[in-house]
């Protein structure tokens, strides 16, 4: 797993943005709500393509066309989640440092972002519909599994 020194997290938390969010009663919940809306958009954009790769959902549509259509939404909503997620992080960085789910989440996030925008994207674009069904299923399962890890970790940061 990724590891950074505690001093970095303390520095993050003591910053002005983090302090403002922490001291406000409504800012953390409001940012968290936007983060959750972003999650819905990410989930939709990921699921449409991964279901297709599994041979489910919109299985009559070309995979590369579906992936191309939802990509702006995927990138936009991931961007929104990273911005809101960073703000949430700044307000409670040291709590995150000691939280195991946080580290699991960040590891899965890093892996899924790399996987989505390299392997998954490359295979969908180059193989188009000549993709071996098994390869397609493996790609979808890795993507869904890593996103599951991201969401699971995210939800459990709050239960510590």
């Amino acid at each position: 797993m990724i590891s950074l020194p505690l001093s970095f997290f303390e520095w993050c938390e003591q910053g002005r943005i983090g302090t403002n969010i922490r001291e406000s009663t409504w800012m953390f919940p409001a940012i968290e709500a936007i983060h959750l809306i972003g999650l819905g958009f990410v989930a939709g954009a990921v699921l449409v393509v991964d279901l297709r790769l599994l041979g489910l959902g919109l299985f009559r549509q070309p995979t590369d066309q579906l992936a191309e259509d939802v990509e702006p939404w995927l990138i936009g909503s991931i961007g929104l989640m990273i911005v809101t997620g960073s703000l949430l992080f700044l307000s409670e960085a040291t709590k995150c440092y000691y939280s195991e789910p946080f580290w699991i989440k960040m590891t899965c996030l890093l892996l899924v972002l790399i996987f989505t925008f390299t392997v998954r994207r490359y295979v969908i674009r180059t193989r188009r519909d000549a993709m071996h069904p098994l390869l397609a299923k493996i790609i979808a399962l890795i993507s869904l599994g890593l996103w599951f890890g991201v969401g699971w970790g995210g939800r459990w940061i709050g239960f510590n």
Binding site: T25, W26, P29, E32, A33, L36, I37, L39, G40, F41, V42, A43, G44, A45, V46, L47, V48, L51, L56, G57, L58, F59, R60, Q61, Q65, L66, D69, V70, W73, F148, G151, W152, R155, W156, F159
Partner: protein, 177 residues
């Protein structure tokens, strides 16, 4: 029912697990509902007929919704009284009712003629309105759902303005025990 409720609320793992399931099924339901709403607005997958999107994704949306409702009922049963008097919970239930109404109107009126407009890149105005309404309502439902956990208007947090107490059904003197 009472002992069930207490056990779920105090369990170290059951409550977080049920809440996680609620969020997972939310991803399936809300995620695919967003895709459909955006298609109705003509903002995504313009080359895929609306009828095809509905036929292929609706079973997943309904499945996600059913598990989401069951897990939501379980969460409610763990903290029933406090949740029932939670202003965000009440607002969420009202919005759910409106979202249901929107689905009903869409399917009984607009969707009936889908064969005639489903292949259009941008669907007719009535379908776009239904999509926009659905998107706005579900976003508001999820925001108010998240706010249930941060109840600034809890009955125990008195004094509150009288109109808040009448909306939440709180009786300040009786709840200060």
């Amino acid at each position: 029912m009472t002992s069930w409720s207490i056990r779920l609320h105090e369990s170290q793992y059951a409550y977080p697990i049920v809440e996680s399931i609620h969020v997972w099924t939310l991803c399936v339901f809300f995620g695919l509902a967003i895709v459909f709403d955006l298609r109705l607005l003509g903002w995504v997958m313009r080359r895929v007929p609306v009828g095809e999107v509905s036929r292929r994704l609706l079973p997943w949306t309904v499945g996600g919704f059913v598990i989401m409702v069951i897990s939501g009922l379980l969460l409610f049963s763990a903290i029933p009284v406090r949740t029932y008097q939670n202003i965000f919970f009440r607002f969420k239930m009202l919005l759910l009712l409106l979202a249901g109404l929107n689905v009903w109107i869409f399917h009984s009126k607009v969707y009936r003629s889908v064969e005639s407009w489903g292949r259009n890149a941008v669907p007719p105005r009535s379908a776009r309105i239904a999509g926009a309404l659905s998107l706005i309502l579900w976003i508001a439902i999820i925001v108010s759902g998240r706010m249930i956990a941060y109840n600034w208007f809890d009955c125990d947090r008195q004094p509150q303005p009288a109109w808040i107490n009448s909306l939440t059904g709180c009786v300040p003197s009786a709840t200060n025990d």
